[in-house]
Symmetry: C2
DNA sequence: CGTATATTTAGACTAAGTCTAAAATAAAAT
DNA sequence: ATTTTATTTTAGACTTAGTCTAAATATACG
């Protein structure tokens, strides 16, 4: 069991870029950062690898409502807040309560499997302007 | 002030479809439903109208991480839960607490402007199968 | 080794939506 | 009422993000 994770050189390089990034890069940004390291993979390989890394749980895919998905090397449970002005994405570790999730299960009669909170606001830097 | 809302025939028809729908239709679904009423507008007009209706606050745009945005004629504050199996989207009126939002403002130093919760789970129907 | 399986590659293709420039409507000014 | 101005619609080209396909490579297995 525990089907071993198969990290090919491409997947490893992409995973490295994500872990070295703290800003939740998009696929396009990952491709840029690979290029800086003189690595250039087929377009499709980057997307296939991102899907693979997501599936095996090494990274998380964030869909914040922007056009492009972002990727997160921190797979600990946390949420995100995005600045409406500059677009930066920051971490949020204060999570919703279990009681709240239970209340929703009761209200909707769904079996709640996951929740994602997307907060929008103004970051400290942009507030100064 | 209060810059009056300009509901052209096209915008009105699209708004009507959204209000008559309770399933948060996508642009493509709205176009289908217009066709049933023998209404056919330019592709771009539908998107322009959806943007307009969203901007003036008559509808809400939902980005649940699917490919296409969905539109909601209920503009009262509420959240959504989507079935991972059949894709249907249901309403969630149990909202997060103000305390939780304050905790996030303190943690992140952001001025929190909005929050969107996307819950995923199994709907009662799909659970029976 | 030889064959099956998995992965990468380049490039065609798709889905959702935006943009553009011209035509049609509507509103405002003469 | 007619001209001028502003707004909206339209068709279709274009963009962005991502998937699909078929061939070429690489890896694993007997
Ligand atoms: Mn994160
Ligand atoms: Mn709703
Ligand atoms: Zn900012
Ligand atoms: Zn379902």
């Amino acid at each position: 069991m525990s089907s071993k994770v198969n990290l090919t050189p491409q997947r490893k390089a992409i995973y490295d870029v994500i872990r070295e990034s703290s800003d939740h890069p998009t696929a396009a940004e990952i491709i840029e950062r690979l290029k800086v390291k003189d690595l250039s993979f087929a377009y499709g390989t980057v997307y296939n690898s991102l899907r693979y890394l997501t599936e095996v749980g090494l990274v998380h895919e964030l869909k914040l409502g922007d056009a492009a998905s972002r990727y997160d090397g921190n797979v600990d449970e946390h949420q995100h807040i995005q600045c409406q002005i500059c677009g930066r994405v920051d971490e949020v570790f204060t999570d919703v309560t279990k009681e709240w999730l239970n209340a929703i299960a009761k209200e909707t009669d769904y079996t709640v499997k996951s929740h994602q909170v997307i907060l929008k606001g103004i970051c400290p830097q942009c507030r100064e302007q």
